[in-house]
């Protein structure tokens, strides 16, 4: 290894030799780097799971749709509504091939003794099938029977196993708002910030459950576009049709992204997660600095001797970068492994969607290398300022 690194660097690999000379210290340094990684991964994971839970309901929709929402609505499950006639107005546009209203409402389900869950209902028109995910096409048909529902197997606080056998011919009954409903199938969505679970029902069933709502006031309207049409252009043109500031028209992806940003920056829960990420990163950087500067302090006499021999500051920066990269690159893997373990345990215990993504792993890897490299360079500056003779 030494010979290989010598050839690679064009000099003796002082950084590598220093690190490996004292295995105990190397382990401690790697543990520090790994810990910093775990901290950042945990915070990013929690924030990511928050974003994930915001995004999941949007994934029920076909991705190439436009979603028209009331201008003031910031989230999917907002209470605001818009007039249904907006749908007919949109159909005038040449590139809009169809639309369907969706009705959202929330209700508490008393699912057993002392157990209650807040259920988000999606009320769908009979023609809603093509606007939704392909896997829902068949189940949605069975909702045409009155007072039927597709129930969410991932609903929090309820044991949903009895619903696994739900089938159009054999509905599983349950009670909601003093009405008897029959579960004719299941979906796997999970609650998030809108509630503890998401149930899909027909619009008629929805109006039975929420008598104060009418078909004239949907929560959102989904619009299908002709193939090849540029969604942004159509959204812009459609917005011109309506009185200013009455509607927001966005692609599903944009709406998803905007709600995540809103939840993270303007709602308390989201802000807490955002702060968590910021603090995790600061602490991670501080740990990296401690590790590197302790290492520099350990070798200051040896560096001072090299300085007295005539080595320039660039040489020392090279050595510390060599160490920083070795520490960051090796310490990353145990950090990644522990974080994975943490994610899995948390997901198992809470049903919150928390998992590793390749982008996050790459981001943290690069961030660790940068943090260690910068810390090392900063720590070396005390050598630049010193007279060699004063260091021994």
């Amino acid at each position: 290894m030494t010979a290989f690194l010598s050839r690679l660097l064009g000099r003796l690999p002082i950084g590598y030799l220093q690190l490996t000379h004292n295995p105990g210290r190397l382990m401690a340094a790697l543990a520090g780097v790994a810990f910093a990684n775990v901290l950042v991964f945990v915070q990013l994971g929690l924030a990511g799971s928050m974003a994930e839970s915001v995004e999941i309901p949007y994934r029920l929709f076909q991705p190439d749709l436009l979603i028209m929402s009331p201008a003031e609505s910031e989230t999917l499950s907002d209470a605001s509504t818009l007039p249904r006639q907006r749908l007919f107005q949109a159909l005038v546009h040449l590139d809009v091939t169809g639309g369907t209203p969706i009705y959202l409402g929330r209700s508490t389900w008393l699912s057993g003794q002392d157990a209650s869950s807040s259920i988000q209902f999606f009320g769908l028109a009979p023609d809603a099938g093509p606007f939704f995910h392909d896997a829902l096409a068949a189940p949605l048909v069975s909702l045409s029977l009155s007072d039927t529902a597709l129930v969410d197997t991932m609903t929090r606080f309820v044991d949903m196993r009895s619903f696994a056998a739900a089938y159009p011919a054999v509905p599983v009954p349950f009670e909601m708002q003093n009405r008897q409903l029959g579960a004719v199938g299941t979906v796997s969505i999970g609650g998030g910030f809108g509630g503890d679970g998401v149930f899909l029902v027909s619009d008629q069933t929805f109006f039975h459950l929420f008598p104060q709502r009418t078909s004239a006031t949907p929560s959102h309207i989904l619009l299908a576009l002709s193939p090849g049409a540029d969604p942004d252009r159509v959204a812009d043109e459609l917005t011109q049709i309506y009185p200013p500031d009455t509607v927001r028209i966005r692609t599903v992806a944009q709406a998803m992204e905007q709600e995540v940003r809103y939840q993270m920056t303007e709602r308390p829960t989201g802000l807490i997660f955002a702060f968590g990420v910021a603090i995790g990163m600061v602490v991670g950087i501080v740990i990296a600095y401690q590790v590197l500067s302790a290492d520099v302090a350990d070798h200051i006499r040896e560096y001072a001797t090299f300085k007295a021999m005539g080595f320039r500051q660039g040489f020392f920066v090279g050595v510390i970068l060599e160490e920083a990269i070795i520490l960051a690159a090796i310490g990353f893997w145990p950090g990644l492994a522990f974080s994975q373990l943490f994610y899995q345990s948390l997901a198992y215990l809470t049903n919150i969607p928390i998992f590793m993504t390749p982008e996050r792993a790459a981001l943290v890897f690069i961030g660790t290398i940068l943090a260690c490299a910068l810390s090392g360079i900063l720590a070396m500056r005390k050598l630049a300022a010193a007279e060699p003779a004063d260091l021994f």
Binding site: S6, G10, R11, L12, I14, L17, Q18, T20, H21, N22, R301, E302, T305, F306, K307, A308, M309, G310, F311, R312, E387, P388, A389, F392
Partner: protein, 235 residues
């Protein structure tokens, strides 16, 4: 016409700042001929190590003039001081070897400071010099596995390996036995004769005094005595 390797003139040096400022050297004047072996002596606190480190480019010149190989050190910028150090070989009182490097690697650093060269050439130069100093069997040993005397010899090899113009040594024989100590000093003298390498050494070792071309004694920051040997440096 003898060449002058080092020329010190009116050198003062201070430690500390403001109220706590203490003068360590007073108006030191000294000339060192190229190829000679000069010894600095004196009681502890006399300023001999301070003078050595100033001449060796390890401390700034506060007042006065120090000319080293025709370069003025007073008010010299950092880059030129660093570059000057590459032409010198400094042997420290504590050997100051790098604990993570083998004897051979420590000596190679003395060559590496001059930039990338053929690593195999570096290895053979290092091995050769270590062999001359009796460490041929210890090339791959870490300092932790070497005795004090062996470490000191590695430090000497490191200082000599790149053929410095001037060698500065602070008690280089303190850890060495009589035989090794004399061998090291004879090596310096040989280098002085054959290559014009100048040596300036701080030492208490009385056995070496006889080998010196000039003995300079300091006391309380001043030069109090200069004894010139009767033989010439080229003899």
């Amino acid at each position: 016409m003898k060449e002058i390797a080092i020329s010190v003139s009116g050198l003062d040096h201070f430690f500390g700042e403001g109220e706590a400022r203490k003068q360590a050297l007073f108006d030191v004047n000294l000339e060192v001929d190229r190829g000679s072996l000069t010894i600095l002596m004196g009681p502890s606190g006399s300023g001999k190590t301070t003078l050595l480190t100033i001449m060796g480019c390890l401390r700034e010149v506060h007042a006065g003039s120090v000319r080293l190989l025709d370069q003025e050190l007073f008010a010299a910028n950092e880059i030129s001081r660093i570059d000057m150090r590459r032409r010198l070989g400094f042997i420290f009182q504590a050997h100051n070897l790098h604990d993570s490097l083998t004897a051979r690697q420590n000596v190679m650093m003395g060559l590496q400071v001059h930039g990338r060269g053929d690593p195999t050439r570096h290895v053979s130069a290092a091995d050769h010099l270590l062999g001359l100093l009796g460490l041929g069997e210890r090339l791959d040993y870490l300092p932790g596995n070497l005795s004090g005397g062996q470490k000191q010899r590695v430090a000497i090899a490191r200082a000599l390996v790149s053929n410095p113009d001037i060698i500065f040594a602070d008690e280089p024989t303190a850890a060495l036995d009589k035989v090794s100590g004399m061998a090291a000093v004879r090596l310096f003298k040989d280098l002085g004769r054959s290559r014009g390498t100048t040596t300036v050494m701080v030492t208490h070792d009385p056995r070496i005094l006889d080998l010196a071309d000039r003995v300079v004694t300091l006391e309380d920051g001043r030069i109090v005595e200069v004894v010139q040997a009767h033989r010439t440096p080229t003899a």
